[in-house]
């Protein structure tokens, strides 16, 4: 048995998984990356557009999966493109998920090394993290969904509190003028922001586990809206407090903002530990989901037991995480993943959908509905 066919998740759980997978490294870096590209304070508009693009891409994937009820992308791709091309695409997708997983833990190691654990070797940081994640994925999609349901409310709760206290530094003038240099800077930033939403492609996999796949579109919309809100608030707050010039010079602008907030009279005058807590949890959820998606892909392609791949992929991901030599290399890796995701999950699903429709008229794959 390649995966536990009995495992089913609700549409709420689907939305939660999507939201958790999308929220990741971006929370700490998005304000900088978007400000670098736009050069104006209008980054938040780019975020909104990027979010809507992500929703659109997600909906296309739902349409793509619709005729193949109860099947993951890996299982039905062969029916659209033919066996060999399908296997190739599946392999690329597996590689892509591995790449995201290794990118996430590498960023985690960098941040942990910089803010929390100076001197602790990064392999130790990464390894314990991967073990905790392995413990979760062996529980299957149901355990993943339930854990994400615990993490998401904690994230939102802490995020709202941290933002609330950050409001003391907020200055609306930093966000003015709106569209002062026209629409072009905003469009320049869209690519960056759209990349931040990578993770929505998890719907290609988890739609197979849904109780009621017909609700997948709703789940995509709700699931994307949550990170969309969080990212908008982050960009608005950080750029609004630190100004565009202040943001581009800082590697982790969101953390810097939270560090500079000091509320007198409370037990905790500083909040970066809280932000780091939820951020680590979000990295954990993104890593777990992408890692699970990659292992599931290999298991379904080879029709072998999932557990073997869950254990076997760990060293691969670990080695991949060690490829970038320095922080700049890590960010280049992130850019590469973003570009890959644009082609793989922006353009390709449209193409596949067209082929599937054409073939559908011939009545081959779709008749299985």
């Amino acid at each position: 048995m390649a995966y536990q066919a009995k495992d089913r998740i609700t549409s709420i759980q689907t939305a939660v998984i999507l939201a958790n997978t999308m929220l990741g490294a971006g929370i700490l870096t998005l304000p900088r990356t978007v400000a670098e590209k736009t050069g104006t304070p209008d980054g938040w508009i780019s975020v909104i557009i990027g979010g809507f693009l992500a929703i659109a891409a997600g909906l296309i994937m739902v349409m793509l999966s619709k005729p193949f009820r109860g099947k993951t992308f890996y299982e039905y791709i062969g029916q659209i493109t033919g066996k060999w091309l399908g296997s190739l695409i599946s392999l690329i997708v597996v590689g892509y998920f591995c790449l995201i997983a290794s990118f996430e833990i590498r960023v985690l190691a960098e941040v942990a090394d910089f803010f929390l654990l100076e001197g602790t070797p990064s392999w130790a940081i990464i390894m314990v993290f991967m073990w905790v994640s392995l413990y979760l994925v062996t529980g299957g999609i149901n355990a993943i969904a339930r854990l994400f349901e615990i993490i998401l409310p904690i994230t939102i709760f802490v995020f709202v509190i941290v933002t609330f206290f950050g409001i003391t530094l907020f200055d609306v003038d930093n966000l003015r003028p709106v569209l002062g240099q026209g629409v072009m800077p905003v469009l320049n930033g869209v690519k960056t922001t759209a990349i931040t939403f990578t993770g929505f492609e998890a719907i290609l996999i988890i739609i197979a586990f849904m109780h009621r796949p017909e609700k997948a579109s709703k789940a995509v919309i709700v699931g994307t809206s949550i990170p969309l809100m969080i990212y908008i608030i982050t960009v608005v707050m950080v750029i609004g407090s630190l100004s565009v010039d202040g943001v581009v010079t800082r590697t982790w602008p969101t953390l810097d903002l939270v560090r500079s907030v000091e509320i007198e009279g409370l037990i905790f005058e500083r909040f970066e530990s809280f932000l780091l807590v939820i951020w680590i949890m979000q990295i954990y959820s993104t890593f777990t989901m992408t890692y699970y998606a990659a292992s599931l892909g290999l298991s379904q392609m080879s029709k072998r037991n999932l557990n073997g791949f869950l254990y076997g992929l760990l060293p691969v991901v670990f080695l991949m995480a060690n490829i970038p030599k320095n922080l700049a290399g890590v960010f280049r890796m992130g850019d590469f993943i973003g570009n890959l995701s644009l082609y793989l999950f922006g353009a390709m699903p449209l193409l596949l959908l067209a082929i599937s429709k054409l073939r559908g008229h011939k009545g081959e794959g779709i008749s299985r509905k």
Binding site: A112, A124, A143, R146, E149, L276, I280
Partner: protein, 481 residues
């Protein structure tokens, strides 16, 4: 089997030579003067009953007619429970449970008469689960008393009690109780299946049953709830859960269990909803405090003094100047000391216990600070932790959190705050993977069930709690119209 009294008695004597507490009393029946004998066990059989309803009627009141088995059971013996047997071995078995055997010369049947003397503790308030408000009754060690208590609390024809026998050598009665038209039959069948699979010599306490039927023996969390309170059992039954009662122990078991249930107390329902809810929130917070405070102390002191307010960090550091140990060793010393104190207080006779607490807590803590072994802040941390853990209503959960606290401390010592976060994630992963009789242990928290959240961290007004918990898949879903 032939009916000669003397030969039968000879066989009985041969077997009971090893049982000094088994007595044989020979007599002759009035009227016909046929020889007869009763066999009973000292202390187990009710002697008054034997005198009044067996010996007196047989030696005084019987007329001249020939004595047969049916005459004895139908006309002579004024006892409710009589069984007939032909086996000497069975007689001995039954006599050892407190029944009395009656053998009559020339009669092939032997009668076993129910004369069990039940000496049970009177019904008292349970010590381990004291309440400010609520019924002052608790189970005792007699199974029939306990089932009667349940009946009295919930007189309802739907309350089913299935009797089973467990234990190979010391066979004991066990009862599985549930509400026929509420409880999910899958859960009931699963309980029956697991109980019937118990294959062990002897079950001295329901804790044995608990350990033999639980889902995961590697988990630190109890997956079966034990209670001495009949009202708690009835409330659980009404929610669609299943109770297991074992003869010889006042602790009943309730399954399936979810984690949130273990932090709830019956008082949450007896008091008005606002105080009930607030106390429950307090208990959840206390559980978190008792789990994580020492590990957070260790991680902030050893790894990230920069993350706490500067003034606080400076004052803590100032008090730790003379302390020769790392924060982990320091915390371990105090935590282990307080665990020893707690265990000692439990074992001591009641009048000495509190005195011991004062000696241990105050004097040792004060002296340790004076001697510069630990910092005063740590003493506060340890005290807060210990007191928080006392708010947890279930002893077994308290122990689980105490064990986990030490693991958290080691995680903190190795990886600081990062280690504590990973520990928390690990714990969450474990809880979401755990199930108790098919019900996810983490429910109703996840998967989200808004209806069940009315009775989760908050206890909503009774008028709003109209439905039974959905996670239990009850047959009858409506609790209140």
């Amino acid at each position: 089997m032939y009916g000669s009294l003397s030969s039968n008695l000879q066989k009985v004597r041969a077997i009971t030579a090893r049982h000094s507490d088994v007595n044989i009393r020979e007599f002759s029946i009035a009227g016909s003067s046929v020889g007869a004998a009763i066999i009973y066990a000292d202390g187990l059989a009710d002697k008054d009953m034997i005198d009044q309803h067996i010996l007196k009627v047989l030696m005084n009141d019987v007329g001249e007619e020939t004595i047969t088995c049916s005459i004895l059971t139908n006309k002579v013996l004024t006892v409710s429970q009589i069984t007939i047997t032909h086996e000497i071995e069975e007689i001995i078995r039954k006599v050892l449970t407190g029944q009395t055997a009656l053998l009559v010369d020339g009669m092939s049947e032997m009668l076993i008469i129910g004369t069990m003397l039940s000496k049970s503790r009177s019904i008292e308030e349970p010590i381990s689960e004291a309440l400010v408000r609520g019924p002052r009754t608790g189970f005792n060690e007699t199974l029939s008393d306990n089932t009667a208590l349940l009946r009295r609390h919930g007189e309802n024809a739907s309350l089913s009690m299935i009797a089973m026998k467990v234990g190979k050598r010391a066979s004991k009665d066990l009862i599985i109780a549930y509400m026929e038209d509420i409880a999910d039959s899958d859960i009931v069948e699963e309980v029956k299946r697991r109980v019937s699979k118990i294959d062990i010599d002897n079950l001295p306490e329901s804790g044995y049953v608990e350990q033999l039927i639980e889902d995961n023996f590697l988990s630190p969390f109890p997956q079966v709830q034990s209670t001495e309170r009949p009202d708690r059992v009835i409330a659980a039954l009404m929610e669609g859960r299943v109770a297991i009662l074992l003869d010889g122990t006042p602790f009943a078991l309730i399954v399936p269990v979810t984690f949130s249930m273990l932090l709830q107390s019956p008082e949450d329902y007896y008091e008005r909803w606002m105080s009930g809810s607030l106390l429950r929130v307090l208990r959840f917070a206390a559980a978190l405090i008792s789990l994580l405070t020492p590990s957070l102390y260790i991680s902030f002191i050893s790894f990230h003094p920069g993350l706490i307010p500067t003034k606080l960090a400076v004052s803590i550091m100032a008090t730790r100047v003379g302390v020769p140990f790392s924060s982990l060793v320091e915390a371990l010393i105090m935590e282990i000391a307080i665990e020893i104190l707690r265990e000692a207080g439990l074992r001591l006779p009641k009048p000495i216990g509190p005195a011991m607490g004062i000696v241990g807590g105050l004097i040792i803590g004060e002296a340790a600070v004076q001697a510069g072994i630990v910092s005063p802040i740590l003493v506060i941390v340890v005290a807060v932790t210990a007191i928080s853990s006392f708010t947890i209503p279930q002893y077994s959960v308290g122990i689980a959190l105490r064990m986990l606290r030490f693991i958290a401390m080691f995680c903190a010592a190795a990886f600081g705050l990062y280690g504590v976060i990973l520990f928390f994630l690990m714990l969450c992963v474990h809880v979401v993977k755990l199930k108790s009789f098919g019900v996810p242990y983490a429910s109703p928290a996840v998967p989200y069930r808004l209806n069940d959240w009315k009775d989760f961290i908050l206890r909503m007004p009774l008028t709003m709690m109209k439905r039974r918990p959905k996670m239990l898949k009850t047959k009858d879903k409506v609790r209140k119209g």
